[in-house]
């Protein structure tokens, strides 16, 4: 059951309707029941694993919190951390580890054939295991008191608006909300509905329409010319952004209707002037997670190494961030590229400040924005394409066939769709720009009811008339 499905729309409307009809004390139980139905509808195995993991996290938290001795706390924390990582590694990386071990044994002359092709990947596992680890670390660091109410904790772990692809919520942000009484708030509901509409606009009009041509190109790169590969490489970041930020808008909007605040995941990433800045704006709930729980502890331990300590911590952090996405060497390379570029940028920061003084700030800023976008677009080839050889093929042929015809570089997309995608993408960026500068929705709220509802109907009409409603999963569901 995904957000852009009729089943989800039915479940969400049903839950929201009942939510505001029943007494406040029962509301969180309704959300927990709805979350259980939502996860179980996909597969009972996903539900069993998610609930078991949540119970292990809950019990570990209480156990850590009870201890007076620092050593015992550390021992219990380490055991529970290993338990959570084992669950993640078993379901997500076991096949990858076994295949690489088998390859290594063959390389040194041994004989062992990998027997496991793939263990089924439970939905949302990377997100809820990271959420569990975040909770355990916060309890261990005494930043968070262990939650004593299992029902409240299960809702923190399983809440259906963030279960599949985040945002990865910190316990300090979410758990207090579970204990609040939720009253109907017109402003929050209308804010949530608007975000859902924006999310559907991004997903159905931009991402879904770009999905077919881009998937076709990246599935058989040898069948396409250099110019076509170049166009696909340049447009993939936009599709990925529209898809994932669209998902996040729907998640945050849906949660807001039910009175919950979820963490933001994006802050206009394509205006970033460096890859360092980019990762403060892209998939923020994950990048801040790795910063707080991987980078800072690693860099702190190696602080006496000077710059090398930071280089070491950055590389490990970004390789793990890449690996978080999936069990392949391409994801490791994707992460290593991000880390490598950030290390390079760190070493050139004084140089950049100097050039910024000499060159006109505006031009240097534009150059940096374009450079950052291009680096990210090329690194995404490792994220999108499964075979390493195919990525190398794209990089080697990307500048072939300069002077191709419009028909060729349009990747078979009809003119009408190209106009729709271009207008929708421009509108998305324009909306984000104006929203960051002025409180446009605040001003909009002051307009007459006739104008407001005309705009709402116009948005609904545009989504239904221009959207691609073909069944298409959100890209980040695979993680």
């Amino acid at each position: 059951m995904i957000f852009n499905s009729w089943e989800f729309a039915f479940l969400f409307i049903l839950i929201t309707g009942i939510f505001y009809l029943i007494v406040p004390q029962l509301r969180k139980w309704l959300l927990l029941t709805g979350s259980i139905i939502f996860i179980g509808f996909n597969h009972w195995g996903y539900l069993a694993l998610a609930v078991s993991t949540a119970i292990i996290t809950f019990s570990s938290g209480i156990w850590i919190d009870k201890q007076n001795s620092d050593k015992t706390r550390q021992r219990i924390f380490t055991i529970s951390l290993i338990a959570h990582l084992t669950i993640l590694v078993f379901f997500k990386y076991f096949g990858f580890l076994e295949a690489n071990l088998s390859l290594f044994i063959k390389t040194i002359g041994g004989n062992w054939n990998s027997s496991i092709t793939k263990i089924f990947l439970p939905l949302g596992i990377s997100f809820y295991i990271f959420q569990s680890i975040s909770y355990l670390i916060e309890v261990y660091w005494e930043e968070q008191e262990a939650e004593k109410n299992l029902g409240d904790f299960l809702l923190y772990m399983l809440f259906f608006m963030k279960f599949l692809s985040g945002p990865i919520e910190r316990p300090g942000d979410f758990l207090p909300q579970v204990k609040e009484k939720k009253a109907f708030d017109y402003d929050k509901v209308s804010y949530g509905l608007r975000l859902i509409a924006i999310g559907l606009f991004k997903k159905l009009i931009i991402s879904n329409q770009l999905a077919t041509p881009l998937n076709d190109v990246f599935a058989s790169v040898q069948d396409y010319s250099g110019a076509q590969l170049c166009v696909a490489t340049l447009f993939y970041p936009i599709q990925l952004y529209a898809d994932f930020s669209g998902y996040t808008d729907i998640a945050i909007g849906g949660a807001a209707i039910l009175g919950y605040r979820l963490s933001p995941n994006f802050n206009r990433p394509f205006i970033a002037q460096s890859i360092t800045d980019f990762w403060r704006r892209w998939h923020m709930s994950l990048s801040f997670w790795v910063k707080d729980y991987i980078y800072e502890p690693l860099a702190f331990r190696k602080r006496n190494w000077g710059t090398w300590g930071i280089v070491y911590a950055l590389l490990i952090t970004f390789i793990l961030l890449g690996l978080w996405h999936g069990d392949s060497w391409n994801f490791i390379i994707y992460g290593a590229i991000q880390g490598g570029v950030i290390i390079y940028e760190m070493s050139r920061s004084k140089w950049c400040t100097k050039w910024n003084k000499y060159l006109s700030g505006k031009w240097f800023k534009t150059y940096n924005i374009i450079r950052t976008y291009l680096i990210f677009a090329v690194s995404l080839l490792f994220f999108k394409i499964e075979k390493f050889a195919d990525v190398i093929y794209v990089i080697n042929h990307i500048f072939d066939g300069i002077g191709s015809t419009y028909k060729e570089i349009s990747l078979g997309v009809r003119d009408h769709n190209i106009i729709v995608i271009s207008l929708a993408t421009s509108l998305m960026f324009l909306y984000e720009y104006t929203d960051s500068k002025w409180d446009i929705w605040g001003k909009f709220e002051q307009k007459s009811i006739l104008i407001r509802w005309s705009v709402y109907y116009l948005i609904i009409f545009i989504i239904f008339s221009c959207g691609d409603f073909g069944a298409s999963d959100f890209i980040y569901l695979q993680f």
Binding site: W141, E296, F300, R301, G306, G309, I310, M346, K350
Partner: protein, 80 residues
């Protein structure tokens, strides 16, 4: 050591590490108030502070710091 003296010395460490002589810290200053104070430079600052005051911090102590004032109080306690 007086808190104001600790703050003054911390201020000069920030100017040196962040290569910006114009930084003026107050007890309520946070990373949001100093442009160059990001997660990359934070580790350099901590290492330099430890070396200068001849103190050692635990990771948990660093993670709990909310502003420069808390850092100075921590240094003051450790050097007392």
């Amino acid at each position: 050591m007086e808190l104001s003296q600790v703050l003054e010395e911390v201020n000069s460490i920030f100017c040196k590490v962040l290569n910006k002589p114009t930084i003026i810290l107050t007890e309520s200053s946070t990373a949001d108030d100093v442009d160059e104070w990001d997660s990359l430079n934070n580790i350099r600052l901590i290492a330099e502070v430890e070396q200068h005051f001849k103190v050692k911090f635990k990771l948990r102590e660093i993670m709990k710091l909310k502003n420069v004032g808390e850092l100075c109080t921590n240094i003051q306690k450790k050097t007392a």
